[in-house]
Point group: C2
Chain length 169, copies 2
């Protein structure tokens, strides 16, 4: 897919078809995450790929808004250290990695949905995380149940001329 | 450009040629930023586009690492509110917007470089920001001075099998 089509086709998907995602495509999405730039190239993340239905169902309980994980073809858990000193910087870098993953997925027609993690104990148990590691959030992946990803003509966003200032505010 | 080529070609560019970037292409990059998802669709950003050489030179003084801004074809200032309560969430969203902008630029062969802002007073004066607004950082844009953007075969990142875990940590 052309880059601009991927950028304009990406949308929040929370309902997935039964069609699996090939391991080749999952690896490509993960590779996009791996290549993401980060502050001083610290790469403050690990990615745990989940495709087991039982684990996906368990993970869907980590937050009230994570139900979509249960029915996804796969999920990627973004895992970071629990050093609060690095909070803001790591959040910025996680945002960059998330966007890379979502656009690499959209390029393949794969929808993505985002979920926070409230129950860290549950997430840590399901993912087998060592001490000092936290699951920052989950990204569900799968083919959309309703309609394929196609460019959105009128995304639900502030108007261009409201967001963009030229030269000065 | 194909999405995968844009993802793998993006690199940190800090030295730009004299070639200007068309306003059509700058607007497309800004449109990618505008379309970025954010927490509860809050869109906590404004983008100020700078193409005036005098302003770019002034902005290059806002941080010791911002020298590249002086010679860029353009810069985008990412402006947010100064509510510390929303710090982490906004940083995540800014990371997503930055990646959208960088990949939309790479798709057009445009290099990007990132700069923090230490001297907020200077940034606010040059950008004409109202009270309550902060320049979170700057993205330089321009065609690379050295070589065009092409896919990087061996990016400087941790090995795939170190970053990616399957099923469990």
């Amino acid at each position: 897919m052309q880059t601009w089509d991927a950028i304009t086709s990406r949308r929040n998907v929370r309902s997935f078809s039964d069609q699996p995602v090939s391991s080749e495509h999952l690896d490509r999405v993960l590779e996009a995450g791996r290549r993401t730039p980060s502050s001083r190239n610290t790469q403050p993340w690990d990615f745990v790929l989940i495709t087991d239905r039982g684990q996906l169902r368990e993970l869907s309980e980590v937050w009230v808004g994570a139900a979509h994980v249960a029915h996804a073809a796969a999920a990627i858990a973004l895992v970071i250290g629990d050093d609060p000193e690095q909070g803001r910087r790591v959040q910025f870098d996680l945002g960059q990695a998330t966007m890379s993953v979502m656009l690499a997925a959209a390029d393949l027609g794969i929808g993505t949905g985002h979920a926070g993690v409230a129950d860290q104990d549950l997430a840590r148990r399901v993912l087998g995380l060592p001490d000092g590691k936290t699951c920052a959030f989950l990204i569900s992946l799968g083919y959309p149940a309703d309609r394929p990803l196609t460019p959105l003509k009128r995304p639900d966003r502030r108007p261009f001329d409201d967001v963009v200032h030229r030269g000065r505010w």
